[in-house]
Symmetry: D2
Subunit: 431 residues, 4 copies
């Protein structure tokens, strides 16, 4: 479907060659300042052709708010948004080689199998223009999350081809045990990331190496993939709706819905499968005092946090207040300059050769899209949890046996001397 989210619902429309692309965002909180200037920056970041030196002030892809605000304030009603397409006329049908060949590893063939109608743009909505609505909606979610919680979402390039920002090692099969990685995600900002345009890998040396990889593949008329890592800071605890809508499950859904993605990892990820439980487990510690200034006052930090963070900020499908971080793998772009032996729609063998300039790597441009989908996912989870808490807050308080917060204190005081305790778990009892 073209709708994402249960509470903060985004519905998008638009192909490459139609009149416009856009979206409707339903469930936006009323009473929030919002105008186009809140949305345009991320729209511009996802435009192609950016580089560290030139950064042309791109006047394309201007978003227009259609509804849902008055005097620059949200009304609580759906926000319609629209971006005009420049190239509105579909090519005449039947006179292009694109009508002969389904492009390998594009969506031309599967869209035809699914819908039985061939769009002139090949794979209908599989074009990158479809992501415009996501980025526009994500910017609204992000503004709320920032204003309400001080949430910060920053994505960056973590690998291009075989060049990794934090390559897996025997010691650190996953970056989640690597102090350098943990330190970076503590503070990394979008400004820093963008200071490493065009690669957006926030490390000069890695960025250079990645840049060379991309240039190399461009010169060979070939393409290459890579990974984007993303951190979400200041997220409240309690987000995620088990069983089926665990927070990592929703993030995975969101990320794998981005064109060209092939994989998703939360926290320690696949590397974490190689780490012993005794190291992988994140013991609890008392939450240190909040650093001054950093976080918005609305964020009530939980009393406990974890010493390590292999969990990636999510345990049992629910956020624990620590940084949430994850990675997303992007395949090499399917459009390459090299000739490809393939067959036509009508099963004739032939050779397809694409002319023109092609993007040899989508990873740097994908960064604002990953941030947008992260924002939409967190926003939806925030609203679900706020609803639960609000609902609960109206109930009469219960006697203390139930509420751990109130009662375990006393309980623990009584047992304070006891420092080493054992849990008599019967593992067979819970399976």
């Amino acid at each position: 479907m073209s709708t994402f989210g249960q509470h903060f619902r985004v519905t998008t429309y638009g192909e490459s060659h139609c009149r416009s692309v856009g979206c409707i965002v339903d469930g936006v909180p009323p009473g929030m300042r919002l105008d186009e200037s809140d949305i345009q920056p991320q729209m511009t970041r996802r435009r192609p052709g950016q580089s560290a030196i030139t950064t042309p002030r791109d006047e394309k892809d201007r978003v227009e708010i259609q509804s849902g605000t008055e005097f620059g304030v949200t009304l609580g009603t759906p926000i319609g948004m629209r971006v005009m397409n420049e190239n509105q006329r579909p090519k005449d049908y039947g006179n292009s080689t694109m009508d002969l060949y389904p492009r390998p590893s594009h969506a031309d063939w599967t869209y035809l199998e699914k819908y039985g109608v061939k769009a002139s743009s090949g794979g209908g909505r599989s074009s990158a223009r479809e992501t415009i609505g996501r980025v526009a909606a994500g910017a609204i979610a992000e503004k709320y999350l920032r204003e309400a919680y001080g949430i910060e979402i920053v994505a960056f390039t973590s690998s291009i081809g075989i060049e990794h920002l934090f390559p897996p090692t025997n010691e650190h099969p996953t970056a989640s045990t690597n102090p350098e990685f943990l330190s970076m995600i503590d503070t990394i900002t979008r400004e820093e990331v963008d200071s490493f345009l065009p690669v957006r890998c926030p490390n000069a040396e890695s960025s250079d190496r990645m840049s060379k990889v991309i240039a190399d593949f461009r010169d060979k008329h070939d393409s290459i993939g890579g990974t984007v890592s993303c951190v979400i800071r200041n997220c409240p605890s309690g987000l995620g709706e088990p069983c089926f809508d665990k927070l990592e499950a929703k993030l995975a859904h969101a990320m794998l819905s981005i064109p060209a993605t092939k994989g998703f990892e939360i926290g320690s990820g696949f590397g974490g499968t190689m780490v012993p439980g005794s190291i992988h487990n994140d013991p609890f510690v008392k939450t240190p005092a909040v650093p001054t200034g950093a976080t918005a006052s609305n964020v009530q930090r939980p009393r406990l946090t974890t010493k390590t963070n292999n969990s990636g900020g999510i345990q049992g499908g629910i956020s624990n207040g620590a940084h949430i971080y994850f990675s997303v793998g992007f395949k090499p772009p399917a459009t390459i300059g090299q000739a490809q032996s393939t067959v036509t729609y009508t099963e004739e063998e032939g050779v397809l050769e694409a002319k023109g300039r092609h993007d040899p790597c989508v990873v740097p441009r994908a960064i604002p899209i990953v941030e947008a989908m992260a924002a939409l996912t967190i926003m939806d989870a925030v609203m679900a949890q706020q609803a639960r808490q609000a609902t609960r807050s109206l109930l009469p308080p219960l006697p203390q046996v139930i509420s751990v917060k109130d009662t375990l204190k006393a309980d623990a005081d009584a047992k304070a001397e006891q420092q080493t305790t054992t849990v008599d778990e019967k593992s067979n009892g819970h399976n």
Copy 2:
């Protein structure tokens, strides 16, 4: 939420210590033979304590169908299913160390943060018993998929710790380019997988090595993770609902909703990010004649298929009829026998030590759960696509300019001599 799927909707209930666990499955096609014997085998496969030698006929976890069938045939109404819990009485509250400590990397703490109520079983529904409803519902989906399309879903252990069935190499950073892997997923069956109990890795040598890893961690009172790979064969083309409900996005959602999962990859996955586009692209070939007997007559195979399958059977979010395959990473179990320094709910430092027998690795038992979630995802996608096709089939046919299937044939005939063609793509036009 506790519901999965739009068309084939599964809603589950139940914690470890309550009366029963179970589910309601809404949207089951009417007129299908179904009784408990269709469901019990997968229930039994997910039970713990199985080994290649003993395989005790486990009489636990008997599923009871409550509704939705008569005389062993589905009515089209919701199917209620129930499995009794054996250990129904929650422990008295307040006298166990589990009430003192939130277990590290368990869901005890986050459930408390989310719901504000501490269940005696710790993390409420985060227990493995919650997966019973998934497996029961998955068995129904699977039966339909098998009867209607001959779909086969087989999962197996592909790594335990650092031991991989197909370790990444410079030549094959991803198994998707490895002929041995491709050959294995062509034919692997559940029987073969189960012949390698308790590890369920269908290769004698790898299985032995993995078995040793697990034993080693068990002996150290530690735990270890691993990956499950899964193949779906005979899936019709056209499944998946872009933009947001691409088939890989739904699979990712489904898999990351399984307890203890940390990552998901489709097709070439993260390894595929290192493969050049010229190799990664899957050129089209004419579909070979169907092998006799193998597939159900209902599966109309598309005219084209791909020579390679780095896509993992999905392009542009839509299945193309090739094998769908993916991997899921599982973390080391959080319950370990070693003492862990952590803090109590009331912020007192202490050492937590778990007694009893613990499963040092969940991967082998996760296999039927991965299969169940795959079946639920495919079933839902099948129903969505069947609905579209049925709807379309009632429309009057259109003149030929639109339907590629009818018209490109003639078109192609006219251009048949032209063997090398060029596509004049302006990559900037679709971004």
Copy 3:
């Protein structure tokens, strides 16, 4: 579908002859006291065979909570509930006349047309037993609404056949302008309603007349319909989700999903279409001081209320804090003792005659079902609105031009002398 609600989600299962009927309720607020004794009373009220004199302590339809509570407190996880069926064995297929004839105005025929499978119970889930899950779930919703807001939901019989509690007159084509009706719904309780068993019309004279109508139709082996009216008191303002999920739209949906219903009216209803706008409009007045004791402290009553209440407590699809009231029409039961000329499934003409004792009027028994569906609807709307308010409350306050509550006060002070004002509405501007 078998699911009702977005936030407070009820999924039901069960036919007449299967093992059990029941439901799963997802989204129940955590931390609420709940056990079977909260649910059983309404279950018992919906049982047949009740009368004012005997009221046999009915031991049937005992509800069992399966999950989601511990120590009598909700965990926030799904609550499974089950009621055993007594008559579990479907009749042998093929030897009953019910297998020959689709019963007129029953669901036998349409269920067969829909599902293509004939259940031995005729219309599958169209049996009254299906409503058990609704009543069980409604009792949970009701408990929350009562504890959190002091909401009271009371339904009563308002007509049987041509006998009306408040018959329409020229002066009062709708009860909404009738002071007697308005006075009754101010205070009516379930106890009063049940003191008029078996009819449940809270007026001795009307009750007698209705009782005679029912007896008369019973004696003629015929059946008769009637209407149930329902009032919801102490509902907070702001409930209802325009445009499509206006509160009255959701109530209408809920009520028309009850078996045998034919109509729904909110507030002035169909009678209100005959009342001039000058009378029908509900002018605003300042809300009087809250009567002591009556309402729960959580209910923050809006500053304004309406002098009359033809709106039925809902304006623009959103509750305004006044009593919500509505009526539901029930058709005469389709099962009658008289012979009916009809045709068999195989198109043979014949005469169908039903033996046994039949309920000549379902209206009195429908009352707890109407209350349950009202509770489920309001609960869902409450949670949606609580989510919105919670979300908004975290935003920084806006300067006063926007917030009417803060600013119009000053504005109005300045214009205080001006007592008659005119609105320059261009009616063409908003169409």
Copy 4:
């Protein structure tokens, strides 16, 4: 929410004073001819100011398709549609009396209570302009239903104030037993209805009387309500998704979501509650041969139909193939020219007087909106049922004990002599 439908999903946006109003329609079948000319006629029918004589070629409210079609054919992707607002600038805030007073029985007050933000247009999306998106989307649904099934949806004015087209009588408390009504809905067309502009009551005498009522209320600066009746012809059997999404429940939801509605009745409706079951029941008859030409070939009519149609084409929540008909009550418009004593937002008493021309009755203009919502409801139900049938059609056929269609024939032959049969129903068994 601003979304209607599960399979054919309409999401709307837009207030009175924003840039545009519009919608996104997701789930439109691919391969259907569609351009603006399919949509504009109903848009124009809902414009105000129409009369039988003038019918000015109204150039306002031109719909623009943004996406989802190419070369006039639907792609299966979401269709974005937009209609510009003419009066885009909201009035400066604070200088109008509309900012002082919440208009009685408008949505000004409840929108403020709900969202906490006061839109300059008063009740945000409660304006009639919000219905534009519904009508645009409904026109697409309607086109499909017509092309696929020959479905015809025709609404007409059935009462204005106390003037009824078919006034209830002792003999016919409901029009459903009135042969004249049944005959009219057999054949009534939109052209006939529009030949009675401006009232749209297809009976010269009634139309005149209603016209006078409206004129009378207009002259008194007052307003009046009325009812719209609607018939859906050629609807396939099997539509509607019990238990909660019975077809009449979805229709009721759809209709009560239209601004100013107060009631809904299906088939015999409230009048039917006064009809004895022996008359109200609809006995089955063999379906007569299809009249030549009338119905589309796709409509497979069920073998049985009903002799009478008090059910309104729906039994047990599922369509039976007979005409579906229902009525919707509309209240008198809240905006009247008379002075109204009320209070300001700040609780000051005063008198509100609306200037300008006001529509004294919305009923005639509501007709295309009722038709649109009916089309959206039926379309969604059609897609759900097509999905079920398609899913089932792939299952292997079952032996005959189950399939009534196959087996009862033989069964009935054996019992053919037996013409009067009895059903031994134990009414207590199914409650």
